[in-house]
Homo-oligomer: 674 residues x 2
């Protein structure tokens, strides 16, 4: 695979700062983040001939100032915000030839600066009435599933498809803080303000990050801090035993409580703006409160109590289910597990516990309904967890632009059209995602997978952004500033390949929301029965007559009852259930007619032929665009698209062959099925 | 799992030497192996009060003497062999109260000694007319798939189920030569006389055993030598490049030939009785002559030429096939591969090339037809390769006594009832097997898996031995000498559990010879479609109507044509094909009536219910035998039988559910299928 000599600048190429860098800019404000803003402008100015001015040294083209600053130039005074805009918000306006960004706090200045960067020359044209910007989601967080030691199966980064960790290598900090700084800058530019720096599966070495290896974490915090990003840590619930030498980790044990209080105090002594703990407990082999006959509220509150004096939070993952299920037992339903475990605990969690819920009830499949837990716990702070790393969506070998899926999740209204949507529910709270970057020169392995990280940050800031518009932003930052060819064609090529790529991926993989037809273990490529007879709780129940999981109340596992109306009725009803989720909720005969008018079996054939063809078409589009991109990047993407086309055909043929062998129904259009 | 404190003596417990050790014995003969015999007797005598006498110091109860020895006592002279009995043969007789073993060479004395050990007190009772014993197979060889470095996937021992290697640990020799010596002794006692000490997949470190790490091999050879065992080495065909620094490994290149000649000369300087090279070439990623446009005769002859001056041999594996096959392509047939590659080369191999052919055409499945290659190359020395390590037969967690399968292979007559059998074809040649031992205290993980290693050695010496009789020998050596309870019940228990265990295993796993329904990669436990859509060439083609691989000439891949008549006709015929191989040769509807009178689908259900029940029955038998065995050994086997019962039920349920879902045919006996 083609590899460039240096690290790719992603959505912050120097050329993206040309508009700012050629202007006269005033930066007014004190504090670490204001210095960052000043340095960014100074660097751009040095490159493009502009200047950073002092107060009184006007005229200015751009003013970036704190509302509290003295000596605000007149035009800035005119655009003062109507009210407090929060510690990350800003007002953007342009009057009388001066572009103004005002913020109450330095973080707002930083986000305002990157807004101006996104606008480019448009920031300096015409007039612009005052726009108030503030993030819809208070904590916009990335979870790194990075190991410190190389895990024998999962490697340095669990579910990482972009090389090693940028933080850790072979059991030690990597020490490449310049790379971490570049990463922090990219994150700030898309709005991320929190990061967890190690895997939620906390192995032996990683458990020590909390105590004797805390210095390693502090070194990272020092690099993230100037970009407004607080560092969090994944900890083992068994830490009191594993690193503390106590005989128990019982959350109601006084020594255990004291241990956590002491340890947490030392953490804040070292990292005063430390964010908090992330915990995967009683899940897939990780230790938890169940070992002591306690529940998850007991467990989470233990850590929350220790963090509370310092303003820290616990992200407590709701991904708890029986991963040793008997596949013969059709009454147990993994989809029900998170709700069954957590909904009864609503109201029992401390204020600084954030229950972190995967967006779907199973596990980051390309298509799942929204988790019913999100709407089921009004008295609990709930964070929604997305997966930027493409574990089940092509592993950064396939183009799969995920923003449209996330937009659907965030726009889902659990109580129907008149109620709040998921974005409202997490508003003021947390949106979390699993990172997709590594030490690959393109950060994300697949260069086009950078768009997913960018889009996550932007959606966390403003969940109602249109995915197409986000892609435009990303293209205009990443490719356009340094482009030499036809930028309209470049933009069109990327939209053609990326806009619908998630639905393309869905078409050629598991059909109609049924999920989990991937190869066990690594989860890449098709294996229709790969999980069918395993303890993982992920089944499709295909037989010669039909396929799908009956999760109705009437005849199935009753999962539909975890939703409020109208969804409890919509999903329950074979007639009303959306086609794309049909097999998630119902077991139907192959001849069942979908709302689309097609039968299930013909839908399977049609979508799989179509999906593979769309992948091939994306490959052809990319080849035609050979002159529009940097040659090394073009070559890398071409190699990956070749693999995507091959793998899409493999999916098409395996899925079609499997269902043809089972159903005996020929393709109505007479295409070849192996 | 229960682990004893010390290494288990396997079939050589001290008590097995009680009969000899309490007698007056004369050992007459010079040489290393005669010394071994002398030391064995001396050790036993020290324990049990007997004595080793000098010539002229009679009377004796036992005489072990070379025919060339001077001062043979009279009774020995009377039993002189009729003719030369070869360098490993011996004559055994008893006259006038004296048991006599005579051999032409010291190795014969050693094998004769172990014969007397097997007989125990029976060796010293009554009269015994002279019996001439000599091995049917000249080279009785074990291949160790042991790595020197720990392989990231395969571990220290590839397909090893008994812990680490007894030779290597973490990249270096283990240095536990006492353990190697104990192993050599066990091997000699069952008749093994050759051993290859490293994996046929030769990785980077292991390639150096041939050159700068040859001393590691010599140290092992020194330990094996006193037990009549010659050491062989697996080498990389790419050695001239990999360790020699040459630009090519082309077998027709003069520098390459010279390199092999030089290197081999140095090997024999260091290990004068070195056995030769084992090579896996152009197979599953291993380098070979194809890279240079040469064929396997060119490749094998290159090494043979280098070894010839020293009497060494090349074992050249015939396991060559396309492991990147397109599963959609039903015309390519992995079963054909070895014949297609090698049969045309018959007559082109040098005399000291031994073509090493797996016993079946695919890969050590619990049931395969005998490979047609074995009978197809009359002008080539052919070795048959068996697999003692239970890769596909329960991985030493299941009881699976393999001697009945091997006996069937050795007794197969490619030209029908009037022709030679496989044992004849390898007679005077080689029988090879992949070892099943490791550093586990019981050597083989499952204590009862020791019987497989013992049986392999005994069948290699005398291929027409009855597996039940071999099991008796093994029980009488391993358990009876130190038993304190009811030895008849002990013997009966083991026969009940072991005699039919291979057929039990066959019953609950892949049906009717179809093979490969194991979990990909590690090959343990069921996954019916696990290999169905992969590049490995191992398919069953089950659909809603039927199952099996059509390998006929009439409508299939033509594999049946690789057999001479009558088998080419028997296997071709749906009516005549043996039931147990039906799905290996034919694709049939589920309603097809077998020769047994059952339908295919009902046979699948019946055998799977029966097999799982037989496994459970074995578990109950073992529990009843709790007082008859050493408690630690009993506990170990009990744990393993629990796992076998669980896994057999898993096989039963997955196979039955799979075929019920696909066929829709209910069980005629109304049993529950999940």
């Amino acid at each position: 695979m083609t590899t460039p000599d240096r690290v790719h600048p992603a959505w912050l190429p120097p050329e993206a700062f040309r508009a700012i860098g050629s202007r006269r800019t005033l930066v007014l404000g004190d504090g670490l983040l204001a210095e960052t803003v000043h340095d960014e402008v100074a660097q751009a100015s040095a490159r493009y001939g502009g200047s950073v001015r002092r107060a009184g040294d006007g005229p200015y083209d751009l003013v970036l100032a704190l509302t509290t600053a003295e000596a605000l130039p007149g035009v800035a005074g005119e655009v003062r915000p109507d009210s407090a805009i929060g510690d990350e918000g800003y007002v953007l306006a342009r009057r009388d030839g001066v572009t103004v960004v005002l913020a109450d706090e330095p973080a707002g200045l930083l986000y305002g600066l990157f807004h101006v960067v996104r606008l480019g020359e448009r920031a300096f044209a015409g007039e612009r009435p005052a726009e108030h910007h503030r993030p819809a989601v208070r904590r916009r967080m990335l979870d790194h599933w990075d190991n410190v030691d190389v895990h024998p199966v999962m490697g340095q980064v669990e579910r990482g498809y972009a090389g090693g960790s940028v933080f850790w290598r072979d059991g030690a900090p990597r020490g490449d803080l310049a790379r971490v700084r570049a990463y922090a800058r990219l994150l700030a530019a898309c709005g991320i303000n929190a990061i967890s720096v190690n895997n939620v599966n906390v192995h032996a070495t990683e458990a020590h990050l909390l105590t004797d290896r805390l210095g390693d974490v502090a070194a990272l915090a020092d690099v993230f801090r100037p970009y407004g990003i607080r560092v969090h840590l994944s900890v083992s619930f068994a830490s009191p035993v594993v690193v503390g030498g106590l005989p128990t980790s019982d959350p109601l044990d006084e020594d255990v409580r004291k241990w956590w209080a002491d340890v947490t105090g030392r953490v804040y002594d070292t990292i005063p703006d430390f964010g908090g703990y992330v915990v995967k407990a009683d899940s897939e082999g990780q230790p938890g409160p169940f070992a002591y006959g306690r529940d998850h509220a007991d467990g989470a509150n233990l850590l929350a109590e220790a963090l509370a004096p310092y303003g820290g939070v616990v992200h407590w993952r709701a991904f708890v289910y029986n991963h040793r299920q008997d596949w013969r037992d059709r009454s147990t339903d993994r989809a029900r597990a998170a709700y069954d475990h957590f909904a009864p605990l609503d109201g029992r969690f401390r204020d600084n516990v954030i229950l972190q819920v995967k967006h779907g009830p199973i596990d980051f499949q390309p298509r799942e309904p929204v988790s019913p837990v999100i709407a089921a716990m009004p008295a609990t702070r709930v964070a929604v967890e997305l997966q930027v790393t493409q574990e089940y969506t092509g592993q950064q070998r396939h183009v799969c632009y995920l923003a449209p899926m996330w937009r659907e999740v965030l726009g889902f209204r659990p109580w129907g059209a008149d109620g709040s949507d998921v974005a409202d529910l997490v508003g003021g709270g947390d949106l979390v995602a699993v990172s997709n970057i590594g030490d690959d020169p393109y950060w994300t392995g697949h260069p086009l997978a950078q768009a997913n990280l960018y889009a996550f940050g932007r959606l966390a800031w403003e969940p109602r952004l249109d995915p197409v518009a986000i892609l435009d932003e990303w293209i205009d930052l990443t490719f356009v500033p340094a482009a030499t060819g036809d930028t309209e064609r470049l933009r069109r090529t990327l939209h053609e390949i990326m806009d619908d790529s998630w639905r393309t991926y869905e078409r050629y993989t598991a059909p109609l929301g049924v999920g989990f037809m991937v190869r066990p273990g690594h989860h890449y490529g098709p294996d229709v029965d790969g999980y069918e007879y395993t303890p993982w709780g992920t089944y499709h129940f295909a037989d010669r007559d039909g396929v799908g999981v009956d999760r109705t109340r009437a005849t199935g596992t009753g999962f539909t009852g975890q939703y409020p109306p109208p969804w409890s009725e919509v999903y329950e009803s074979l007639a009303d259930c959306p086609d794309e989720l049909l097999l998630f909720f119902h077991h139907v005969p192959y001849g069942h007619v979908l709302r689309s008018g097609s039968t299930v079996i013909q839908h399977i054939y049609d979508t799989h032929f179509a999906g593979a063809e769309q992948a091939a078409e994306a490959g052809r589009r990319w080849e035609e665009a050979v002159g529009l991109f940097d040659p090394a990047l073009h070559a890398r993407v071409k190699d990956l698209l070749d693999e995507q086309v091959r793998c899409a055909e493999e999916w098409r043929d395996q899925i079609n062959a499997y269902f043809f062998r089972k159903s005996g129904v020929p393709d109505a259009r007479g295409r070849r099925i192996p």
